[in-house]
């Protein structure tokens, strides 16, 4: 891990400096430099294949960087190690909803709450503080009744909720949600929106990817538009969404 001093100060939760990711000859992310303001909601939009999910994977250490620097909470990293991201104050959900399928809903949350140190974890039994927190989270996402079910037996919407709950169990500053609204019924969709607004109101930084323009318009304070792995434009929502190049990128006109 490389830690480099940065002059960007404290105004950004997340920044990247010319980060790249190649898949073969395809530049999924191409020397991308962005900055995500602290607090509030920032959405990442762009056509399919514009590098949104790859960007989230790079930020969270799920994919290794091919170049550039990621700055999380003022700390510059050339290599983002996934298991260190919670210490930097960041966590994420996955586009394809990656739960721990063959363990219970309850244990899916508990995994995130318990000790991360190897030997203390061997001796640690479930503590009442863990139980209370898990219960609060499960009630918040409306999964308390399902706590004994295996994660694999949940419906798609419930899986999405549980994954968001699992991320919430980690007490960090910045949450990356990869398509939290995709494939949800309207009722579920409202619920997810409420949960995310609640987190924002607590003063956390929420970053999400979405294709649903109405939600992007409604929810986000800032917006980042990607196209072919490059930054198309970024800024306040209304200004950006009315720009011609954004409309072009989406409609292909």
């Amino acid at each position: 891990m490389t830690t480099a001093p940065t002059d960007s100060g404290d105004s950004y939760a997340l920044e990247t400096v010319e980060i790249s990711k190649l898949f073969g000859a395809v530049k999924a992310v191409d020397e991308l430099t962005i900055s995500i303001p602290r607090k509030g909601m920032t959405s990442i939009v762009g056509p399919n294949g514009s590098g949104k999910s790859t960007l989230v994977n790079l930020l969270s250490g799920t994919l290794p960087l091919d170049g550039g620097i990621v700055i999380i909470d003022g700390v510059g990293l050339k290599v983002v190690k996934a298991h260190e991201t919670p210490d930097h104050g960041l966590t994420r959900t996955f586009q394809e909803v990656r739960l721990f399928d063959q363990i219970t809903v309850w244990d899916n949350i508990m995994v995130v709450l318990t000790s991360r140190k190897l030997f203390p974890a061997m001796l640690e039994r479930t503590q009442s503080s863990h139980r209370e927190k898990a219960q609060a989270i499960l009630e918040n996402v409306g999964m308390w009744d399902k706590r004994r079910a295996l994660a694999m037996d949940l419906s798609y919407g419930q899986r999405k909720l549980l994954e968001i709950g699992r991320a919430m169990a980690l007490d960090v500053d910045t949450y990356l949600f990869d398509e939290p609204f995709a494939g949800l019924f309207p009722q579920m969709l409202e619920r997810v929106k409420e949960i995310m607004k609640g987190m924002r109101d607590e003063g956390r930084t929420i970053v999400f990817i979405s294709h649903i323009m109405d939600i992007v318009r409604e929810m986000s304070d800032h917006i980042i538009v990607l196209d072919s792995g490059k930054l198309l434009t970024a800024g306040e929502v209304e200004g950006v969404l009315n720009r011609e190049e954004v409309i072009e990128a989406y409609l292909g006109a």
Binding site: T62, F100, I103, N108, M110, A121, L123
Partner: protein, 349 residues
């Protein structure tokens, strides 16, 4: 510890009619009942001496299957390397304690150390653990089907070391006159005393396994089994967790090996061939992944099958060994078709 049968029996005694109706569709209950009553009937039919022998074989296999289940069932690493650690434990015991003056060929002579059993047993455990650290660090890079292949490689290498490092293992001649346990002047040469010793060892292994698997550590292992990368995102250095359980499991196998060497008083490489490892994995899957009780049941079923086939009138004794493999193979195929979670398990590979 999950002891489904006890709960079932209590319910049965309280309300026999209702419970009988309920458990008619409860396969787990019948499997438990079948295997346990089979074991009891077998012991009564064949007498105490035979029951003690079968019990000792069972306890050694049970230590192996419970410890392997920690790696295969709880952590999701399908390893066929386990027999290698079992062999290392057995050879450590043999080399340290054997009275090697016995029948030594000049070309195959090994040093006589003459350690007592209780000094050699921790070494069996420790050497298996040390080898596991080195092997585990290398294995941490692999997953899934590749993992099976590299663990296969380790089992083959271990066998060849036992066979060819003749200045240490006497190769194919094997090592005779391995020490039986003794405390002071009291030697455990009686089979019953030895059975007590292996059962105590099994109890210790079960206790450690249960304690670890119900801790936060155990929960993280199951998360690693389900999605290693997602587990990492939540701040866990999964390589450390995988290595830790791998070493603990190998040490338990080393313990089983030490006991086995002392019990048979003779080891040779043929006890540690790859096939035994595959049988072991079959027992774990047969009994049920990620359940300690299932591994005990699986080991019991396997030992009963093995010993029971000696008494089949139509089966010549020279086919018993192959016979048990055929039966186990068929059982495994049938089970995977109709009950992929094993006899009492809940999880699938």
């Amino acid at each position: 510890m999950e002891l489904p049968i006890i709960g079932d029996i209590i319910r049965l005694s309280r309300d026999p009619k209702d419970s009988l109706r309920l458990s008619r569709s409860n396969l787990e209950f019948w499997v438990n009942l079948l295997i346990i009553s089979w074991a009891v009937a077998f012991a009564i039919w064949q007498g105490v001496g035979f029951a003690i022998t079968v019990g000792t074989v069972f306890a050694i296999w049970a230590i192996l299957s419970v410890s392997l289940n920690l790696v295969v069932g709880f952590t999701g690493l399908l390893s066929v390397a386990h027999i290698g650690f079992f062999g290392i434990g057995a050879y450590a015991m043999a080399i340290l304690t054997s009275d090697a003056a016995y029948e030594q060929l000049r070309t195959e002579a090994i040093p006589t150390l003459g350690w007592p059993f209780f000094a050699a047993l921790p070494v069996s455990v420790g050497v298996a653990g040390l080898v596991a650290v080195v092997v585990g660090i290398a294995f941490n890079r692999f997953r899934d089907d590749i993992y099976v292949l590299v663990s296969f490689g380790f089992a083959v290498i271990a066998f060849n070391v036992f066979l060819n490092w003749r200045s240490l293992t006497r190769g194919a001649f094997g090592i005779h006159e391995i020490e039986r346990p003794a405390i002071g002047g009291w030697v455990f040469d009686g089979e019953l005393e030895f059975l007590a010793l292996v059962l105590v060892s099994l109890a210790v292994v079960i206790l450690i396994a249960w304690f670890l698997m119900t801790s936060s550590f155990g929960r993280v292992l199951t998360a690693i089994r389900e999605d290693e990368q997602a587990t990492e995102v939540f701040g866990y250095q999964v390589t450390h967790y995988k290595l830790a359980i791998w070493v603990i499991s190998a040490m338990m196998a080393g313990l089983a090996g030490g006991l086995f060497g002392s019990w048979t008083t003779f080891v040779d490489p043929n006890s540690f061939v790859l096939m035994e490892s595959i049988l072991l994995v079959s027992i774990v899957i047969l009994g049920g992944l990620a359940t300690i009780w299932g591994s005990l049941l699986g080991a019991m079923a396997f030992v009963l099958l093995e010993e029971g086939m000696r008494f089949l009138p139509f089966l010549p004794s020279e086919f018993v060994g192959q016979g048990r493999q055929v039966v186990l193979g068929i059982l495994l195929v049938v089970l995977m078709l109709f009950r992929p979670q094993g006899l009492v398990g809940r999880y699938k590979l």
